[in-house]
């Protein structure tokens, strides 16, 4: 018998409602289609502050945090950036709660040389109000901007090379962290891909280190990104992280949250359409109607300006690997839905948000990363789609970019992709050139743009999916040009897409649809 989160449609099933960017689209899927839903949110911790205190006083494989402290020592606290969680968390953000307790403890022990670094790696610099959202007013007012700031991977004078792994990966990290007596990493773990060694060795590194694993060769060898044990990316990151932990005194604090993305008025979006009450059905219709009538910026505001009421489900502290083992377990408890049997056709909506467009627009390159990268990789074990199968996605693929945040993406999509979609070729011919573009570097360092190499990483992020997926069909694209650039076919309706997909599928294809968000992962048995 299948898991309750795997719903097989029959002739009486209601149409499914899937995201297509910031619109909700109703689709009639064939009888026999298996629709995967997220598990209900795990019960949150009742007393989060107590859990934080307990975790740092009873750490895994490490002495308690207080025992590591001595007056006059130099401490750096690194914090995950706003790319997590999605959408941003209602205040107080769990990072604020952890920081508050840790900073009080540091103060009690006479540690006053403390700096807080937002571990952005090559992500865009967070704006002051975004930092305030994460750390809270009290910490922001006390530390910003001198002692609370964004990591700058292009301030080469502020990066320190600490060594090379036995397979030649160079580890270069933020100098302040390297020179500190203690580094405390405050993580917020949204999906199993995050956290662990990835926190310090990616969050505080620069391009010189990132290129060791953010390249098409490594990305092709990930099965999947969401299962660290089967991901070449994580294997590389772990090697680098272990080296970093040998040189640095790292105390890791990881937190997990449940999947309560939608607050009460929109909670029904996570549920099986067959189980909605009459009132919820009306609310869904009203929401769909509103979204179809209001302009795009208003739709974006409806979803992005409303923070999510996530509940904290775990706080773990101590030595990085020991901590992350517990984090992963809790994360999998929330996300894994057991599924047996791969699909010939995999259907998914692409929502309006990704880790790389918080407070901006999901541009075409990010649509690609959501489809080939994130949605495809939401599995453990075997991929949800059979090798060479067809993936159908819903998204308008609008040719729109945020000039401020995604400046280098525009050139990547409009100047490079018309030349080639081959990730190896792009890596070889263009990546270095982009990495040395002074205008983009300036925009990354002093504006709020992603690093010039980031669009390449986004393309590589889709590499495992591209190698596996036979055809990608996009439903509802508002133009033909972008799907063509991305190597995708287009269909006007889901029926048309299914007809197209069936042409290259077995006579009675297995069809699977992902009802996400909220996030979940398929624990797949082929």
């Amino acid at each position: 018998m299948s898991h309750p989160c795997v719903v097989t449609l029959d002739s009486r099933s209601a149409p499914r409602v899937l995201f297509s960017g910031d619109q909700l689209v109703e689709v009639d899927l064939p009888t026999g289609t298996r629709v995967l839903y997220a598990k209900p949110p795990l019960e949150p911790l009742k007393d989060v502050d107590a859990a934080i205190r307990y975790a740092i006083n009873h750490p895994y494989n490490s002495e308690p945090l207080y025992a590591k402290l001595r007056p006059g020592m130099k401490v750096t606290i690194a914090v995950d950036d706003i790319s997590l969680p999605l959408p941003p968390m209602k205040r107080p953000d769990i990072r604020e709660r952890v920081l508050t307790i840790v900073l009080d403890l540091l103060s009690d022990y006479g540690v006053d040389d403390v700096e807080i670094i937002i571990a952005t790696s090559v992500h865009r610099r967070m704006k002051d109000w975004e930092v305030r959202h994460i750390v809270g007013d009290r910490i922001f007012n006390a530390y910003w901007p001198k002692k609370l700031y964004n990591h700058d991977a292009e301030n080469l004078a502020n990066m320190k090379h600490i060594g090379t792994t036995d397979v030649g990966e160079e580890v270069e990290l933020n100098k302040r962290a390297v020179d500190s007596d203690l580094v405390i990493y405050v993580n917020l773990n949204l999906v199993p891909m995050d956290g662990g060694h990835k926190s310090v060795s990616v969050g505080l590194c620069g391009y010189r280190s990132l290129r060791a694993h953010h390249n098409p060769r490594v990305m092709r060898d990930c099965y999947s990104y969401m299962d660290p044990k089967s991901s070449a990316l994580h294997t590389s990151v772990e090697r680098m992280g272990r080296l970093a932990n040998k040189k640095l005194n790292v105390f890791t604090i990881e937190t997990t949250i449940n999947n309560r993305m939608f607050d009460r008025p929109l909670e029904f979006l996570a549920r099986n359409e067959d189980d909605l009450s009459a009132g919820e059905k009306s609310a869904l219709r009203a929401l769909r109607f509103t979204l179809s009538k209001v302009p795009q910026p208003a739709r974006q505001a409806i979803f992005q300006r409303v923070p999510s009421p996530y509940g904290v489900t775990g706080v773990f502290a101590g030595e990085t690997e020991a901590v992350h083992e517990h984090t992963l377990k809790r994360s999998f408890d929330q996300y894994l839905v057991p599924v047996t049997g791969q699909a010939d056709i995999l259907i998914t909506g692409i929502p309006y948000i990704s880790p790389y467009n918080v407070n901006s627009f999901l541009n075409p390159l990010l649509v690609q990363v959501m489809a080939n990268g994130y949605m495809f990789n939401l599995y453990r074990g075997a991929p949800m789609l059979k090798k060479g199968g067809t993936m159908i996605i819903l998204h308008p693929c609008t040719d729109l970019f945020d000039n401020e945040h995604h400046a280098p993406y525009i050139e990547f999509v409009h100047r490079l992709l018309p030349e080639t979609r081959d990730a190896m070729e792009l890596h070889k011919r263009y990546e270095k050139k982009f990495s040395e573009n002074p205008a983009y570097i300036e925009m990354y360092r002093f504006g709020h743009a992603y690093h010039p190499t980031h669009p390449f990483f986004m393309w590589y992020w889709g590499e495992a999916g591209r190698q596996h997926i036979g055809r990608m069909i996009v439903v509802g694209a508002d133009n033909e040009y972008i799907p063509q650039l991305l190597g995708w076919e287009t269909a006007r309706t889901m029926d048309e897409a299914l007809r197209m997909a069936k042409q290259s599928a077995p006579p009675t294809p297995e069809i699977m649809a992902l009802h996400s968000p909220p996030i979940f992962m398929a624990d797949m048995t082929a």
């Binding site: 292009e154 000039n403 400046a407 050139e411 040395e436 573009n437 002074p438 205008a439 300036e442 002093f446």
Partner: protein
């Protein structure tokens, strides 16, 4: 090796051509000379304002006519002070980073400006730029005539001068960068492969957004 061409006024410094010119006028041999220079400049001001709207080259020629009769010695002697008092404090902090980054990436860095060469030379040395393309005053018998030597560096002429410079230095223009704050520099921005708008005026900002040129804010 690519080259990076930087407009100066409004792009790398907050000042414009008028500021150093006024400095020179105020530093004539006697206060009477200074007053006379300023008076003549004020008379020409409406014409300059009209010229600025019509043709940047004409504006430059009218403005620099104020140097008529200034000795070459004085031009050079005051250049250091004009740079230290007018230009140097006006350099955007982030402009230094951008120039340094370009140099670090192996670019030849060229300042291209309608300002006068003896001032631009000092700015280039200060920023580490490797070359300048700037206006030059005509000097006869040791005194400036108030005329500019050809070619006058302004507007579309900048584009031609960049092409010429790149050709002479063996740079592939498709690989070169150009930075400016002004819509009047669109020709110069358009000849390189990597144009960028810096602290752009409204018209340039709209154009940069339409063409997806990077927009930098060195003043922020």
């Amino acid at each position: 090796m690519p080259a990076s061409y930087f407009d100066v006024d409004g792009t790398l410094v907050t000042t414009n051509l008028v500021h150093p010119t006024v400095f020179y006028m105020l530093n004539q041999p006697t206060p009477m000379h200074s007053l006379a220079k300023l008076g003549r400049a004020l008379v020409k001001a409406p014409w300059m304002a009209m010229a600025e709207l019509q043709d940047r080259r004409l504006f430059n020629e009218l403005l620099f006519s104020s140097f008529d009769g200034v000795s070459e010695d004085r031009l050079v002697a005051l250049a250091e002070e004009a740079f230290a008092k007018v230009l140097k404090p006006a350099i955007y902090g982030k402009a230094r980073d951008l120039v340094k980054c370009s140099l670090d990436k192996g670019h030849e860095v060229v300042l291209i400006s309608g300002a006068l060469d003896f001032l631009m030379q000092r700015l280039a040395e200060h920023l580490g730029a490797t070359g300048i393309i700037a206006n030059r005053l005509e000097v006869k018998d040791g005194f400036a005539t108030g005329k500019l030597l050809r070619p006058v560096v302004a507007g579309p002429e900048k584009a031609r001068l960049i092409r010429e410079h790149a050709h002479a230095r063996g740079h592939d223009l498709d690989e070169c960068f150009a930075y400016s704050d002004s819509y009047s520099d669109v020709p110069m921005l358009s000849v390189v492969g990597y144009p960028a708008a810096v602290n752009p005026d409204r018209k340039l900002k709209l154009l940069a957004q339409a063409y997806h040129w990077p927009i930098l804010h060195l003043a922020a």
